[in-house]
């Protein structure tokens, strides 16, 4: 559960850069998760170089790819952008399901590390911890930089932003690419953790939907919102699973939690508490 929390805080904080600050709701952002996992997994399986070494490059590949995709998809916004992000995910799912070089639908099976069972997950724990801290720092930095202010401006009014001298195209695409970096690196580590990389694990909409829901629940566009949203959803999910077993009830209750939260906290937990001036100082990083 801790590993899962680290992973999702990394991903939701990264997603928050383009989705929260930039206002572009991408429901295909786990494409970068898959790209990172496949890149490092393929190199590990073929050349024996551990994903712990290649995760940095997996992030770069995801960023590079994000830049290219952003140049095309960020021309549109709102529902059109959301649909384009889902289409991107579907294209990747189909592509990797059929790409024999990377195992097609069976994916790539990765070797286990040489550590004993009780220690085998420790490297993943620390790697994901580092990625989580980096993602929070990156989110904080973006939030307080000129770049972040430009991005937040663009999210509400592109024309107004442009007449202030902001090159909106570059800002949007760069934000999209930056948000892909740590998600790609996390994919590399997560693939090694699972010891397999498959399209039906990495290219499913549920992963991106989780990132979005965690941000919205916690408060998108805030630094601490994705952290709180992730913790609430994961702990809530685990609580339901522990008490009601592995049924579909956890999905039902998570949906209910979302509805209730958005009814009473329309700007997410952090955003709404801040608006009502009830947010404790240690959670206000904006």
């Amino acid at each position: 559960m801790v590993l899962f929390s680290f992973l999702y805080i990394t991903m939701s904080s990264s997603w928050n850069i383009i989705g929260g600050y930039g206002g572009f709701i991408s429901i295909g952002h786990n494409v970068f998760f898959g790209i990172g996992a496949y890149f490092s997994g393929f190199i590990y399986a073929r050349y024996g170089i551990s994903p712990f070494y290649t995760a940095v490059f997996a992030g770069m590949i995801a960023t590079f790819f994000g830049f290219g995709v952003g140049l095309i998809t960020l021309r549109v916004k709102g529902p059109s952008f959301i649909i384009s992000s889902i289409a991107l995910l579907m294209i990747f799912r189909t592509l990797f399901d059929r790409w024999e070089l990377v195992g097609g639908a069976h994916g790539i099976t990765l070797p286990h590390n040489n550590l004993s069972v009780e220690w085998s997950k420790i490297p993943h724990y620390y790697a994901l911890l580092v990625l989580m801290v980096l993602s929070i720092l990156l989110s904080w930095y973006v939030r307080h930089s000129k770049f972040g202010l430009a991005l937040r401006s663009i999210s509400h009014d592109e024309i107004k932003s442009e007449v202030t001298g902001i090159n909106i195209k570059i800002i949007k695409v760069t934000a999209y690419a930056i948000s892909a970096y740590l998600i790609g690196a996390a994919g590399a580590i997560w693939g090694d953790y699972l010891t397999y990389v498959r399209p039906n694990i990495f290219f499913i909409i549920l992963i991106a939907a989780n990132m979005v829901l965690m941000c919205i629940l916690g408060g998108k566009g805030t630094v601490t919102g994705p952290i709180i949203g992730t913790i609430v959803i994961i702990f809530f999910n685990e609580f339901i699973l522990a008490n009601f077993g592995a049924s579909e009830l956890n999905i039902f209750f998570t949906g209910l939690l979302m509805i209730l939260t958005l009814l009473y906290f329309p700007d997410g937990i952090i955003g709404s508490l801040k608006k009502r001036k009830l947010l404790p100082g240690f959670l206000d990083w904006d």
Partner: protein, 243 residues
């Protein structure tokens, strides 16, 4: 300083701006007036290239504005406001101002958004506009009049040489109007060039050095305020012809 040569813009075959020609001198206040639908705001949007023109040329000194993207035009030192204030309500007042930092926020993007330097400048502008102490408030919580003043403030933040103001006095009370007039005259005295769209004729006649009149997308008159007041074509455009 600003020269419009045969600028034409149409929407679905309807000419919104039709072969417009005029020139603005540096350090002056010029007013662009005309009945509703005359094409004034469209012309503003063509100058800042929110709309590309269909034909003609727009020069700012030696720069062809009609060939530049909007953000580069802003970075040349041309600031503008909008008829309906386009403030960013989810940002604080200070953030709204800082966004317009001189040279465009597009420079030095990795620096902190609010530095001591630009915060001081934002405070100075709020002081100048008589709305000091609002800095930390959300823009969305301000009144219409305050937003109108801040709209002018955001333009000033960039310290532009040419200021395009779209109905700065629309919907503001008399007291605020006097403030706005004072600010515009002060800016002119500081060497700024102002081109404004305005329906308030008292304001136009009081502060303008030059008045340009548009009707149905065309420039129908240009001259000193006193000349324009007596121009028969202008009177006809505003009041209609006698049957």
């Amino acid at each position: 300083m600003l020269k419009i040569n045969n600028a034409t813009k149409s929407f679905a075959g309807i000419l919104a701006v039709n072969s417009c020609n005029f020139e603005i001198e540096q350090g002056t206040i010029s007013a662009l007036i005309g009945p509703n639908g005359a094409g004034k705001t469209t012309l503003f949007n063509c100058i800042s290239r929110i709309y590309p023109i269909d034909s003609g040329e727009i020069f700012y000194w030696d720069h062809r504005l009609d060939l530049m993207p909007t953000y580069k035009i802003a970075r040349l030192g041309i600031g503008r406001s909008f008829q309906i204030t386009r403030t960013l309500d989810h940002l604080s007042v200070t953030e709204n101002l800082v966004l317009h930092t001189a040279g465009g926020i597009g420079n030095h993007l990795l620096l902190p958004a609010i530095t001591r330097e630009n915060k001081l400048k934002a405070d100075e502008i709020m002081e100048f506009l008589g709305i000091a102490s609002l800095g930390e408030m959300d823009m969305g919580s301000l009144s219409f009049g305050q937003k109108k003043l801040l709209d002018l403030g955001t333009v000033l933040m960039a310290d532009p040489d040419l200021i395009l103001l779209d109905e700065p006095a629309a919907g503001v009370n008399l007291r605020l109007l006097e403030d706005i007039i004072d600010k515009l005259v002060t800016l002119k005295n500081q060497g700024k060039t102002i081109l404004l769209i305005e329906h308030n004729m008292d304001l136009v006649m009081e502060i303008s050095d030059e008045v340009i009149v548009m009707s149905a997308g065309e420039i129908i008159a240009q001259g000193k305020p006193t000349e324009i007041q007596k121009n028969a074509e202008v009177l006809e455009a505003y009041l209609g012809s006698e049957a």
